[in-house]
Symmetry: C2
């Protein structure tokens, strides 16, 4: 009983461009001994769930300086890193005011719901009809659009302008947003998923609008805000219990499904937070 199976997903080699399932290997033959050495102070952890997140792409490249701490087991979903990221990036960085116009690209449920709770007008974009419907019908976004079907992104984002932009995409989307920012606008730079698989990133025009509109663009790492986790819990727990905040998880079953789940993030296959169930007990 002391020797058990220890299935592994192994990165075969550093990745260029879009990651493929074949960049990873499932190793079924590894085992691990459950009995620790006498006097050892090592802890053996059994992972029940894993998270798949876009930032992981950066850790699969050779040259890119990594900016993320090691993965913290158990911190998955709205109560974990993703929810905390939305909280820090929206409330702390953007300091939303009632009536402001918020735009969320690669729109997550959490940011849009926080914005609605703050009395903002919220527009969100996503890349499939299913996701766009979710934003509108489940997460309460005021307006939504499928960026893959927009003929004129510039006009779509013009409307009343943007006070707060929660940046998940980068590239062309950022360029168009910049041209539509309002005076004293704030951009919370959380991610740029359109850029992670490019050999050389896109050049972004319209940065001059940062000056003319007195825009503040702030990058952040959620790890710098972990000290606020208790404050976040205090806010979010009652909201979840009262059904005022909802969330969606996309659950893949079994560790062997992890490579496909991770790769799927970059084609937008997941709907909601991507989680992998390693085992349920």
């Amino acid at each position: 009983m002391e020797e058990v199976r220890n299935q592994q997903v192994v990165l075969k080699d550093y990745v260029n461009g879009f990651p493929k399932e074949s960049d990873m290997l499932i190793n079924d033959s590894a085992t691990i001994n459950l009995k620790l050495q006498e006097g050892s102070n090592v802890v053996l952890v059994k992972n029940l769930y894993l998270s798949c997140d876009p930032y992981m792409r950066g850790r699969m490249s050779k040259s890119q300086g990594s900016y993320v701490d090691s993965y913290t087991p158990g911190s998955v979903g709205i109560l974990g890193m993703p929810g905390m990221t939305a909280y820090a990036g929206f409330y702390e960085i953007c300091a939303p005011k009632k009536g402001e116009y918020v735009f969320v690209s690669a729109a997550s449920g959490a940011v849009g719901q926080f914005a609605k709770l703050s009395g903002c007008y919220v527009v969100g974009s996503a890349g499939t009809k299913e996701k766009v419907d979710l934003l509108k019908n489940k997460f309460g976004y005021d307006e939504t659009f499928n960026y893959k079907e927009e003929q004129d992104l510039e006009a779509t984002l013009k409307r009343d302008g943007i006070d707060i932009y929660f940046e998940n995409v980068g590239g062309k989307m950022l360029e168009v947003v910049l041209a539509n920012m309002r005076l004293n606008g704030r951009i919370s730079a959380c991610g740029m998923i359109s850029q992670y698989n490019l050999e050389q990133g896109d050049g972004v025009r319209n940065l001059f609008h940062i000056i003319t509109k007195s825009v503040r663009m702030q990058g952040f790492m959620v790890t710098d805000y972990f000290h606020m986790y208790p404050k976040y819990m205090e806010m979010i727990m009652p909201l979840i219990k009262q059904g005022e905040i909802c969330y969606i998880e996309d659950v893949a079953e079994g560790l062997a499904s992890a490579p496909a789940a991770l790769v799927g993030l970059f084609s937008g296959r997941n709907v909601g937070k991507q989680v992998v169930v390693v085992t349920r007990e």
Copy 2:
């Protein structure tokens, strides 16, 4: 005696690309009546000095939304708008700390001297040997370079990285700076002179570093900081009197020299703040 000459510089038409002297017309035949109507509350102003500044280029284009208030006569040089801009953009936006690395593009004397007073290490770039020498020998920059002669801007700016960037240039310079920003860096976005004469602005890569280094990029308009003018005076006046801050003005004589002085800004012909003396009394 009531009818006097009122020489004028007239913009002939909206400008595309680099402004030329021929875009402006000197009108020598206009006159003005010094006698005001009985009961009028109009004030007639005699301008002694004019300022030439890069932002004026934006006001010569048709489509560009103007972001500057009308010119305030008399506010010229280190005690006026340019000095106040350096003060607000450096102290208020960048909140410098002793020992930090500061880079100033199209380096002005004021920002670099403020940075030295704050105990920072200051690198400045300019486009002529004369200006580079001034930065080093008169304004006390720790390191300087002529960006037109740099073979490898990336390597030049790498060194110890950049905590604070005072942005006057935009385009390629910004792109290289972004890649060299340090953790929690600040970019005070004051101007982007390399972009003002382009039909379509340059695309800027490396924005992802804003996220990975938690950089804050803040655009600003000096007009939003004019309420701090008394505080600025309180700081700057003793420094000037004690010779701890120095400044250079490039003085053009006579209103007819104004078009050449303005156009010269964009080829870097001026050394120091460009002023036009309309008349000395």
